[in-house]
Symmetry: C2
Subunit: 114 residues, 2 copies
């Protein structure tokens, strides 16, 4: 259980970068490793950069940009989503993906603690 105190948050890491201002909740070593692992593939880096350039993409947009089969791209998107690096939202017959800014902030905060 995580208790939520009524005091103002004073000891938490506040990350201020060019993209967002976020309070990153600390993550465990295993979560940190899982996120880094998800990041550890060139095609998944490209997917993240693509989502950073455009605000959001549907699966087909990502497939069109990468030299991979549709099923492979779908799997990479699942891995990124499971790791908390992106978010997927079903929009009718499509799925729209965008960066998960809080997940990315948590990862950056963990990186900074090394």
């Amino acid at each position: 259980m995580v208790s939520v105190s009524t005091e103002p948050v004073s000891d938490e890491c506040v990350c201020v970068d060019s993209h967002s201002v976020a309070v990153a909740s600390p993550i465990s070593e295993d979560q940190f490793a899982a996120m880094a692992k998800a990041l550890g593939h060139p095609m998944r880096i490209r997917i993240l950069r693509l989502l950073a350039e455009r605000q959001s993409c549907i699966t087909g947009d990502v497939v069109a940009e990468l030299p991979l089969a549709q099923s492979t791209v779908s799997e990479h998107l699942r891995i990124l989503r499971d790791a908390g690096l992106i978010q997927g939202e079903i929009e009718g017959p499509r799925t729209s993906y965008c960066l998960n800014t809080s997940g990315l902030a948590a990862l950056r905060a963990a990186m900074a603690s090394l």
Copy 2:
């Protein structure tokens, strides 16, 4: 080609954290992925934290801290070194490892660009 102007660097990412101030040289997507992949294992995270706490460790110190065989730890250290996240220096019969601050800075810079 990246032209190096004579103006003061104004568009480069300068990372200021509690550990260091560094201008990170940009890395390729493949290098980024390789570094993240190396980071993507809980035991390797623990090794990095260990090296962050102490200034440096010899292989045996790391072996003593982890529930792994000596050969396995040596392999993890090799992976981290190949990825540019740590540095190893041979000191007589031992090898002393420490964090590679420029590699870590480059990784943080790449993370920030997402």
